[in-house]
Amino acid sequence: MMAETKKVVPARIPEEAYKALEDIVGPQWISQDRAVVETYSKYCVDRTGYLRKHMKDPTAIPAAIILPGSTEEVQAIIRVCNRYKVHSIPFTNGQFSINAPPTPNPTLCIHVSRMNRVLEINEENMTATLEAYGDYGQLQAEAMKRGLWNGGCPLATTLCKLSSQMQAVGVWQTDLKYGTISRNIISAKVVLPTGDILKLGSSSVSGVEDFWEYGPGPDLLGLVRGSVGTAGVVTEMTVKLHTWVGGKEMPEPPAGRPSIRTYYEQKYDTVSPPKRHKLLWVEFPDYETEIKALRAIAHSGVGIGLNATGVYNSYYCSQTQELTLKRVKEKFFPPYNLYVILAGITSERQIDYEEKVVRAIISEVGGTFLTEDYKGDVLTALAPWNVDCIRHVTGFRMNRFTYAGSNVPGGSVDDVAWITRESLRFAIDKFGETYITDRGGLDDTPFLYAISPYGRFWLSETDVYPDPMNPQMLQRADALVFCGVTQLFAHKCGPGANGIGVSLEPLTSFFPEHGPNAHLLFRKLRKAWDPYNLYVAGRQVFTEEEYKAYPQAIIDAINQMRGLCGMKPVSKE
């Protein structure tokens, strides 16, 4: 069913405001052109964005796009927005949707793409400072030249910007050793919605070296971290660097490089791991054994990364959608598996020793290593992970058909492993799947990754893949994700919307399971950060007025879902 062909006309910001903004950056760096604003109106994992396109919702489209070149320009922009009461949102690459596109009010999109430099690699202190649009690929490339790296890369890809990740879900494949991005931030510079520039961490004290991580007392960095972009525009950040022994450059596939005509050939993805790194793949007879193995390996202290991959293999390691579906249907990849990344950081022999430990664990728990002789074709197919585990690229192959939402529970491996599965089963039984690969996590292992040393904390993930041209499937995807999230609250699976502390409306206000008055606290904080409620309004927490105005029909739908999951209803009172 296609929407009727009527135009979608976005609102504009006041002309005086536009002129004042133009005076800050120059006319070439601001636009309200219809084609330009369209390209900022739908994000990546964004079923809501697709639905708003079907509904021809003009509020999905920003009123204008501005591209500042410095922290000072960002500050000037925010101040103009405050003066003229113009709403604004920050934007890096729109890769991850957190129900992000504009609020109902005419909104200025602040795109930080001009602030794309790695400013400094401090080899002595082992830190790196980068601007807002600096990504993992840039950071790793510069650091690796010096025998250093930041410690990870998200499964989303090397294009992710660290400044966004620190405010959302900054999870790396190598969190087992290095922890998430939140554990690796030394300092940050933020332009608050008030227009003040706040320096956090080490940079809060002029002239000091990069030393600050977390002291024993309160730290404002904690309020910016995980704030889903609502605390202000992060314009600069400094992160820890760690020893890197894998060489200055990533290995090249022996087969060479593809062309537009040969993009689909597996050989161009078949690559060895970086020097002094090794991946071990193990398959298991069942889910329980896999979970036992994950726990045991995490507790042992070996390895830099530990993950179970499931349906992701069928996407990441398949060069065409046809191959993905074939592999899913034929269960080409082991349904219960894990890979562990070993690194010879202290010496080459570290890998030998750690491999012995892993083998001893697997021997005890049960499991079979994939080798050239045992499922060699599967092992070859898994080759992209050899470099992707460090510098991830193939993650968004999930978008060939179209990754539009996920549930990401967090907690202990046992909780997360079983709750994920049961939540997914419950949701699919109730609403049906949108595509065969929605069943990833049901017919095989969900994604399970150790996101802190020794596996104190794990993340799992299941995803939905609706046809973006089909509004019914998009709505079903919405229901599946919402049901999954509600289930997490019902199972008391960690704080926040996804078990990892990130909170979004309407969950903040209508799921008291967050903590009884979490929304009231967030609301008070928001009043301090953004007294006019102009900056990313309505994303993290509603103001009193927004809360009161929230449509009863949506609250009824929330309660319907809560009821389905065995939870008591909520109301505005």
């Binding site: 390209t39 109106s41 510069e142 062309s259 537009i260 689909y264 510098r391 060939r400």
Partner: protein
């Protein structure tokens, strides 16, 4: 992937891809495994300069979706033509997007260009002059047809319209008519002759391959050129074509078969000169005698590189020349940085073309190379501009310049 020929597809055929654009940003950035520095991590020249996501493969997909659904009209945007025609058609977006998402942002953008032309809204005035020239003179350079064969003066080369030859050397408009680039055509004939190849040319009868037209989205100008070219090849019994122009190679080999309602090429083999010389090298027909101590770096022309997969052949030729030391830039092969000239960008936006080329020259200089070698007249033409302007020491050479000298 679509079964229809590329030039049978309408903009509507890209609806599904446009809706499905995942916004993964890989159309603008170098494949993550290959990034070697913070400075050279980006791959899309249009985005590199404009910094707005509108100016990217992804941007054009989003715009296409909205236009197809009637969310706005083709005349509602004053930047739409800029967004479309600031693109050099380098294919970097399509390379990465195919590899990850199996989508074709460049082809969709070319279909959108054609839609704009059908509506009378494109191309730009500067391009209209170019198209007029092709229609009136069979070349984009406003040169009379009679001048087409001037480059052959003094050369002993067969005229295939009068006598048979094993190989047709298709010179292309730019080497044939631009005096600064004629050396490419002349040297190619000399090299082939030295290698014992029975080579001939079409001379005055050679016409434009149509690449400038189709890269502007102008199918209506392109299709008759395709038909005329194929008919001419058949008329003169051509079995093998070698060209030293990357644009001509891409279009004749891969675009001609995608045009509906034109004769089949009938198995005519089409080679780029780098490919053909590599073949001769492997057959032992090229014997490099002269020591040429020179540090060089190879610039992959987009239209033989990522569009067609010719990466190793020119490199192996260079390495086979005694004394040549080949060093690589960071962005090479499928991730090569465009020279900035393509798809009419140099014609309509010379400043932008110069900026893109300047970045490439900087990248080349960082290798320590004394010369940047390539095999495309547009690349050579555009890359020489910043060198002249900034009085750089780095030389820009055509592959055949080196090969010819090494053979003597």
């Amino acid at each position: 992937m679509m079964k229809k020929k590329i030039y049978e597809r309408t903009l509507e055929d890209y609806r599904e891809q446009a809706w499905g654009c995942a916004r993964d940003n890989w159309c603008m950035n170098q494949w993550g495994w290959n990034v070697k520095s913070s400075r050279y991590n980006e791959i899309c020249p249009e985005f590199r300069i404009h910094r707005s996501h509108a100016y990217s493969g992804m941007g054009k997909f989003h715009i296409t979706r909205a236009l197809l659904e009637g969310d706005f009209d083709y005349t509602d945007s004053s930047e739409l033509l800029d967004i479309l025609y600031h693109c050099t058609s380098c294919g970097a977006c399509e390379m990465n997007c195919l590899r990850l998402e199996e989508k074709e942002p460049l082809k969709a953008a070319e279909a959108l260009k054609y839609r704009m032309i059908e509506l009378g809204l494109a191309p730009l005035p500067a391009h209209q002059e170019l198209i007029k020239s092709i229609k009136n003179y069979d070349n984009p350079w406003l040169q009379p047809r009679a001048k087409r064969k001037d480059w052959t003066k003094g050369l002993k080369v067969k005229d295939v319209t009068k006598e048979k030859a094993d190989v047709l050397f298709f010179a292309g408009c730019t080497p044939a008519l631009d005096p600064e680039l004629t050396h490419e055509a002349v040297n190619t004939v000399k090299v082939l002759t030295k290698a014992g190849v029975d080579v001939g040319v079409l001379g005055e009868q050679e016409i434009c391959c149509g690449s400038p037209a189709i890269r502007l989205g102008d199918r209506d100008t392109f299709f008759p050129l395709v038909k005329r070219n194929i008919e001419m090849f058949k008329q003169y019994g051509i079995k093998k074509i070698v060209t030293s122009c990357a644009g001509c190679y891409h279009v004749i080999k891969y675009d001609f078969p995608e045009v509906p309602n034109v004769p089949d090429m009938g198995g005519i083999e089409v080679y780029h000169i780098s490919e053909y010389l590599h073949k001769l090298l492997k057959e032992g027909k090229l014997s490099f005698k002269k020591q040429m101590p020179l540090k060089v770096t190879w610039h992959d022309p987009c239209h033989i590189g990522r569009h067609c997969g010719i990466y190793e052949e020119p490199r192996e030729i260079l390495k086979a020349i005694p004394g040549i030391e080949l060093v690589e830039m960071e962005r090479i092969k499928d991730q090569g940085w465009c020279c900035g000239a393509g798809a009419g960008v140099r014609t309509a936006f010379p400043d932008m073309a110069l900026t893109i080329a300047t970045e490439r020259i900087e990248e080349a200089k960082e290798t320590g190379a004394e010369a940047l070698v390539t095999s495309c007249p547009y690349c050579e033409q555009n890359l020489v501009d910043p060198i002249r302007r900034n009085k750089e020491k780095l030389k820009v050479l055509d592959l055949t310049d080196l090969v010819l000298e090494a053979l003597s």
